[in-house]
Symmetry: C2
Subunit: 432 residues, 2 copies
């Protein structure tokens, strides 16, 4: 399936719209002046959400957690604004989040507790509720920009491109679509909160199964992206299921998810659904990493030969967070000592004498890339590699880094980007 | 006592020298071409050391740990080179570290296991033992540069200034000096290993007591500095005690450390000694943070009102590592949301509604600074502060940031620096 913005549509049963209500005032940070996005379902949906682990949680995060704990089987819409994070705003912030839902519910003729809200933007400022009220009135009118591509653009902050991904699972007589969009340029620009995502599906699925699937998919996608290690106050990924496909997702991992079953059986196992959902999330996550603030290149770090996935993730994350690794990649500099150094201080019980490091497409990539793989370290010692070739591998896009720990069979991939002077410039200057 | 390089001397019983042997070949990284430093004691010393926690440890680190485990009461010298870290060099690296000690021992007419070694420089390359042998022959000759100021310069890599600190404790008839120097520009430049320190004292003190004192002092000084969160393969701080003052350090926290005791009693409690040692280490640590790669300003982050020191340290460290906090300080931008955000994702169980944040000299600083203190957050909500004043507080040097957690009485201070475009430039380009 295509991840192109031009042909991007949500799953059956959902519509999207966007408008500009003046919350995103800074010209510098706005690639578009659209700043309000609506995703609305024709019928009540199942919904699931994962949220920031930051102790400082924005009001919309607290509000959504409350709604989903009570009403996850009966959701109608998600309303999202950019330009103001509604974070560190105290009781008034909670009132504003509730009012944002209530205004949307009124416009859509549903109950407030059927509406989820998301906000991204400056921390510590209150929402301009007058502007927001006018925007919500506008977004349900014919005057709004109609369609998911506009919604994907409206939630952008320092993002330079909108981020969308869709997948379909065809089975017997039914087809399930999973389609979503997100924003996130890796971090906060003038206090912009990072990562918001809305994923829609037309599967028939119960809220608890949906929540389990989302949690697993996010663990292997968005939670494996690091741009600068800062976790925002607003991170939210929502998943809405309209049921419009008529295809049911079942908890049993039965033979019913084989493609060659009679068309009468339109059911997909939750395992299969979670796999497809994970693919959508990974596609979105890689777009977030590639569009990291100031980034020139996507960096894919794979740690193999680990005792378990937790160990692999610990090591991979430490490498992905290292400013030195990321500045070396920016400079196209095969400073492999920095990769081993970051693995060494990760906290994982690695054995330095068993480490092997390869730049470029290692075995797993087959012939997807035509640059050669350059092994620079074998069993803890430098190989006699060509400096020039190693440098070339670090200047390709994506940059592929594979560290084998030599301890077991587990592997994890994480995505990040290079660290450039532009990142500093973007984040240093706040136009007050 | 002065921390001036011009008047810098080691404690009684030690001499220092430096020479250039050609290991530090890159003109770009060398503020001086001196690259070999010797600290030698007239008589056998007590010695203590703390080393990197990185699993990937350089050969000199492994060698020193071995020597100190067997011979900490009988050390004569420390030989240190810059330009090559002797890290990720396998068995040959260990042989080279041993030979570096043996050559020095021969030149000084002592045993090899009386010599400690330190290296800093490129990872993954072998020491040029011919150059090193000539350097060691030279450094004990009259042709060498004599004196601690030269030794402090010889161990520099991307450091822009040498870093020295001295303190004296006068007691009764005796005076104990603690005097040391270090290198560290916060991180690795073309794979430069970070932080080396040598501290000398003329106290009479047993190795185990010396080790305890050093461990405590380092925990409150060097371990509270972060420039970019990368922990090197070579970090080493050594403490040598010559005993030349005749003043004994006793484990008992007795009344004997009062200044008004008869001169016949020349003893200082280990508690008092550790306090003074900590002051020397803090003075050095702050110099490291201020000279962080590309840094414009020293940043002092103090977390107060914590349940315990561990909690305070967790929060302070998270703030000190945040690229967003550090780029905001670079830009003089009072983006306080980033400070709360970093506290929120630190992992500590903070309560967002109890946080208070002040830029500039909070109460604890008395009238040491003439800039005003600006409280920007009180009990989790923004105050009505003047944007201009808050920005001014972030443009002072040092930048003072105080976050009160409102949970208890514990407090911790950490030091870091702003994150600038120059940091990226320094670390991106490796002249191979």
């Amino acid at each position: 399936m295509s991840d192109s913005i031009d042909t991007f549509v949500l799953a059956k049963g959902f519509r999207a719209a966007a408008t500009a209500c003046g919350l995103k005032t800074s010209g510098a940070m706005a690639a578009t002046n659209l700043d309000l996005a609506l995703v609305a379902a024709a019928e009540p949906c199942s919904a699931a959400g994962v949220f920031t682990t930051n102790r400082v949680k924005a009001a919309p995060v607290l509000y959504d957690q409350e709604v989903l704990s009570q009403n996850a089987g009966d959701i109608r819409a998600v309303i999202t604004n950019a330009g103001c994070a509604n974070a560190v705003t105290g009781p008034r912030g909670m009132q504003d989040a509730r009012r944002m839902a209530a205004l949307t519910a009124e416009a859509l003729d549903c109950r407030p507790d059927q509406v989820l809200v998301m906000s991204t933007g400056v921390i510590g400022r209150h929402l301009d509720m007058d502007k927001l009220a006018r925007g919500i009135a506008d977004i349900v009118s014919p005057a709004a920009q109609q369609g998911a591509p506009f919604a994907a653009r409206a939630i952008m902050t320092t993002d330079t491109v909108p981020k969308v991904a869709s997948r379909q699972v065809t089975i017997g007589g039914g087809t399930v679509t999973i389609s979503g969009f997100c924003k996130g340029s890796g971090m906060i620009h003038p206090n912009m909160a990072t990562m918001l995502g809305i994923i829609t599906t037309d599967a028939v699925i119960a809220p608890d199964l949906l929540q389990t699937a989302l949690r697993e998919a996010v663990a292997r996608s968005f939670n494996r992206v690091s741009v600068d290690g800062d976790t925002s106050t607003n991170d939210t990924v929502l998943l809405l299921a309209s049921g419009a496909s008529g295809v049911e997702i079942t908890a049993e991992n039965a033979a019913t998810d084989k493609d060659n079953l009679p068309s009468a059986i339109s059911a997909i196992s939750a395992v299969k659904f979670t796999e497809e959902l994970t693919e959508v999330c990974v596609a979105l996550a890689k777009q977030v990493a590639r569009d990291g603030e100031g980034a020139n290149r996507l960096v894919e770090i794979r740690v193999t030969g680990a005792e378990d996935e937790a160990q692999a993730h610990t090591v991979a994350n430490s490498i992905a967070r290292s400013p030195l690794v990321k500045t070396a990649i920016y400079g196209g500099d095969p400073n492999w000592g920095r990769v081993l150094c970051a693995a060494g201080y990760s906290g994982a019980a690695i054995d330095p004498d068993k480490l092997s490091l390869t730049f470029g497409p290692a075995d797993r990539y087959g012939d997807r890339y035509d640059t050669p793989a350059i092994q620079v370290v074998a069993n803890g010692l430098p190989t006699s590699y060509e400096e020039r070739q190693a440098a070339a591998a670090l200047r390709s896009d994506p940059v592929l880094v594979t560290l084998d720990l030599g301890l077991g069979d587990a592997a994890v991939t994480v995505w990040t980007c290079d660290l450039t002077t532009e990142y500093i410039e973007i984040n240093a200057h706040y136009t007050t």
